[in-house]
Amino acid sequence: MTTQKTALYDYHKSLGAKFVPFAGYEMPVQYSSGIVEEHKITRNNAGLFDVSHMGQLLIEGNENLATELEKIIPTDLKKIKLNQSKYSFLMNEQGGIYDDLIITKVEKGFIIILNAACKNNDFEIIKNALGSKFKLTLYKNLSLVALQGPKSSEILEKTINGVSSLKFMNGSKFSYNGKDIYITRSGYTGEDGFEISIPNELVEDFAKKLIVQGAKPIGLGARDTLRLEAGLCLYGHDINESTSPIEANLKWAISKRRREEGGFTGYNKIRSDMNGSLARLRVGVNPTGKIIAREGVKIFSKDNEEIGLVTSGTFGPSVNRSIAMGYVKLNFSKPGTKVLLEVRGKKYEANISALPFYKKNYVR
């Protein structure tokens, strides 16, 4: 498979980006100022992220579509309001997660934002589940950029009139250079911010405008440290086909009615996890010292019993310490529980922690 490039590739290059292959795309991992600086810019000002590698799927249909989609997506799609977004997932029969996603109700039906590495597989899963009754479009002509940070609203309002009145996890159609664009107030950094779906031919011009207004380009490196501080899962690491949403501490993302009624793929596992068979839980892990505990680091109890595994870990620039998340046996999942982390053959002290490590208020 040849590596793909987003419509902003040349622009990233002109801004001094270092590229890495990611999910089949050449993506900027950082620009000249480096990951820690980019992280802080996003927390204190505004960062612009190219996330055009992610899948943007439109499914066209009416109430009947909501009924059919509810069979594979555990959100209350009958109650979702026009332009409202929900975090959810696609599951296998065993309750493992095929992908996590954001689904938004739009006039024509639903728009689903999918992870880059999963999008083609997701498309097949959804298509197979829905049959030929609904039209599915996985857009190739649309880019997706995220503007994140406390200054994003002020910056974006200068270019897109009215955008600052959007509420968190809500979207709306806007116009840019005479073309329709769709903006949601959402993101993956723990900051206030927006995700903008815009035609490929307009995205460079649009990105340049935001940069002129004060946003700074941010790469995937800082995107990872930001989301980890915010306690958000990275698909393929913190969640995958063998972790259930309940184990992943994502019960909140399953609508109450759906939790009670079921009627979706993977429900048996959800129900049994909720009814006492839950054996492990995703938690935050705070190493006591500076040691970085990365994916694969084993977690032990004080008595040296192996109790779990780290699924992501790094240095958190805003909390200014080492942070990690992972899965531990249920009886060790309480925040404050003392554990040991085995890094390069040595054991280091750590505490189980609540998530997120870093908290900001969203505009609701």
Binding site: I35, K290, T314
Partner: protein
């Protein structure tokens, strides 16, 4: 201090008497990005040329640090353990990693001078 010598594993060495001061090169620090963790060998440990003698981690990944010379670790730089970010600021000065009492000065002859290293680093940077 004498002129620095450079290894293919991106360490520098500076010799004074029979004590070699070792650190990572500016090029290595730039390639690693923001350094957030440093692990140094224990004092008194005997290390072998090209053997692992420390770890540096950036926000992205962990990398081993190797010693370009054989000998005994006689001193380590605790300040870079306490504040790893200083390695990015002054990698070839105050942010040295450890000092080795060397056994065989001729090992330094196998290392590169600054000009050769810069050429090597440029050719191997991507």
């Amino acid at each position: 201090m004498s002129d620095k010598k450079y290894s293919k594993k991106h360490e520098w060495v500076s010799l004074e008497g029979d004590v070699a001061t070792v650190g990572i090169t500016k090029h290595a620090a730039e390639m690693l990005g923001d350094i957030v963790f440093v692990e140094l060998p224990d004092k008194g440990k005997n290390v072998e040329k090209e053997g692992q003698a420390g770890v540096v981690e950036s926000t992205k990944a962990a990398s081993d640090v190797y010693t370009p010379v054989t000998g005994e670790i006689i001193e380590t730089n605790q300040s870079i353990v306490d504040d790893p970010a200083t390695v990015n600021k002054d990698p070839e000065g105050g942010s040295w990693f450890f000092k080795v009492k060397i056994k065989n000065k001729s090992e330094l002859d196998e290392l590169m001078n600054k000009a050769d290293y810069e050429k090597f680093a440029k050719e191997n940077s991507n």
